[in-house]
Amino acid sequence: MVTEVRIGSLVMKNPVTTGSGTFGYGEEISEFYPLNVLGAVTVKGTSLLPREGNPYQRTCETPSGVLNAIGLQNPGFEVVKDVKIPFLQKQNVPIIINIIGSTVEEYEELAERFDSLPVDAIEINVSCPNVKAGCMAFGTTVEGINSVVTSVRKKTKKPIITKLSPNVTSISEMAIAAEKAGSDAVSLVNTFLGTVIDAKKRAFVLANKTGGLSGPCIKPIALRMVWEVYKAVKIPIIGQGGIMTGEDAIEFIMAGATAVSVGTGNLVNPMCAYNVVREVEEFMAAEGIDNINDIIGCVS
């Protein structure tokens, strides 16, 4: 049975990675299982300098989902280089670094710096809805995506994955822009902008007022978007949005994803991504699928 997939030159032994921001830098989950069972680990959005993130309250449960406004809290490039990457290297698992910037120059600088480090792919986050400057502002226009991806492309030969926001009228147009600018793959979707109100307090629940919605509640929309993008571009897709089980993952692959990532699932159960790997294999065995690549986009 073949479960290996390729995202540009990145080889994943199975199609399962993790959603940036739901897996830290792997340290915590490595207390539950060895990380090399995964196809790759995608780490928290990383900026040049440390970011302290948004004020508390940052998360809130919603029906079958989670609303978050973490605000990209992360320790910054230097700590990631000196502490987090060496740790992940020891785990013997491909590393996808997720980069964030407030300006095109910051993305460029990060791409250049990570290019010389032992990371296997660079995911450009132009889709975080929870920060004031940059990020999603780039990801919601063709020009924004074009300028960030073109600049990053100049600085690295590593596979580039552009992470798309669903908060747009046509996600296919954004995917096409990323492809044209030289992205090796796209990942979708990031979270949907939303909010929750506490009626008794007449107040927003999150300190940031709005947040990004994730989890099983977004799965049908994410799946539809993967299908649309699959029809629009030739580059591989990493599908995500509410994947909790192997069968969820298979649905994304059938809609056109080459790989998938488990995000909110890790918050619900630390073993979730591990279970998805196992369940994908079980599904393939039960359905007589010899090669996972045979079912990419197979829905009729």
């Binding site: 915590e28 302290e52 993130g53 508390y56 940052r58 809290q73 918050l267 630390p270």
Partner: protein, 262 residues
């Protein structure tokens, strides 16, 4: 080591009008746990509600873990409907618990729903042959004092306070802690759990005593993962003259009161 364990419910019964006491068999988590640590408990079925709920450990005996939980919203409501023989998914043990200090006196303070972890801590101190343990519990009324019976069999000095005076001293738990401190002058460590305003007040009272070397406070915050991956559950903490965010689920829930930005 941390575990995700399918755990068998042994009992689940009402303690007073607001809360339940549950005994669960969770051998791996039970062996690894320390006082002040907590569990993430799957309260529903088929991922509804989606997130697990953080609940403190009351005590551990062999493979069995005891908890007390208030029925607040949908999660704890669904948990209260579970029956002996049902299985629930638990993640634990999580966070950093209390660190036992080399002191003459140990004052354990439980305000309201903060009493349960003190049972586990008192048992641990006694197993370490530590004496001079004072347990101070406070609540609004007599009926809302939790875990009183758990301490009666233990070799500890138990002091109670209620706001309406229905049992123990009339007033706040901090009042009885003050009395204990006034009467015991050796090096002292304070361990606390309860509502944040109570712990803030406690911290401010205790720091006036030079012989109090440590005031540990178990903090609360809304969590998503409970295991340190989402950065959701942060509070402000002082470190090297700077104020930074720390995760309650990972660097906490127990923090030194002097570090917390109240």
């Amino acid at each position: 080591m941390k575990f995700v364990e399918k755990s068998l419910i042994i009992s689940n019964s009402l303690v007073n009008e607001f809360c339940y006491r549950m005994v669960i068999s969770s051998p791996k988590i039970a062996k690894a746990a320390n006082p002040g640590q907590f569990l993430e408990i799957g309260c529903g079925d088929y991922n509804y509600p989606l997130l697990k709920r953080p609940i403190s450990i009351l005590n551990i005996e062999e493979d069995l873990i005891e908890i007390i939980y208030y029925v607040i919203g949908k999660g704890t409501n669904m948990l209260s409907k579970k029956e002996p023989g049902d299985l629930i998914e638990i993640v634990g043990p999580l966070g950093n618990g209390y660190s036992v200090k080399d002191c003459e006196n140990h004052i354990l303070v439980g305000g309201g729903y903060g009493a349960p972890p003190m049972v586990f801590l008192a048992n641990k101190l006694l197993r370490m042959n530590i004496n001079n343990i004072f347990v101070c519990l406070g609540s609004k009324t007599k009926d809302m004092i939790l875990c009183k019976e758990d301490f009666l069999d233990l070799d500890v000095s138990l002091c109670l306070a209620t706001e309406d005076g229905s049992v123990g001293k009339k007033g706040f738990v901090t009042d009885i802690v003050k009395t204990v401190l006034d009467n015991n002058k050796g090096k002292t460590a304070v361990y606390s759990c309860g509502p944040t305003p109570m712990m803030e007040n406690l911290y401010k009272v205790c720091r006036e005593y030079e012989n109090v070397l440590s005031i540990q406070c178990a903090m609360e915050s809304v969590m998503a993962c409970g295991i340190g991956v989402c950065n959701g559950c942060v509070i402000k903490v002082k470190e090297n003259d700077r104020v930074i965010y720390k995760r309650v689920c990972t660097e906490g829930p127990v923090f030194e009161g002097a570090k917390v930005v109240w």
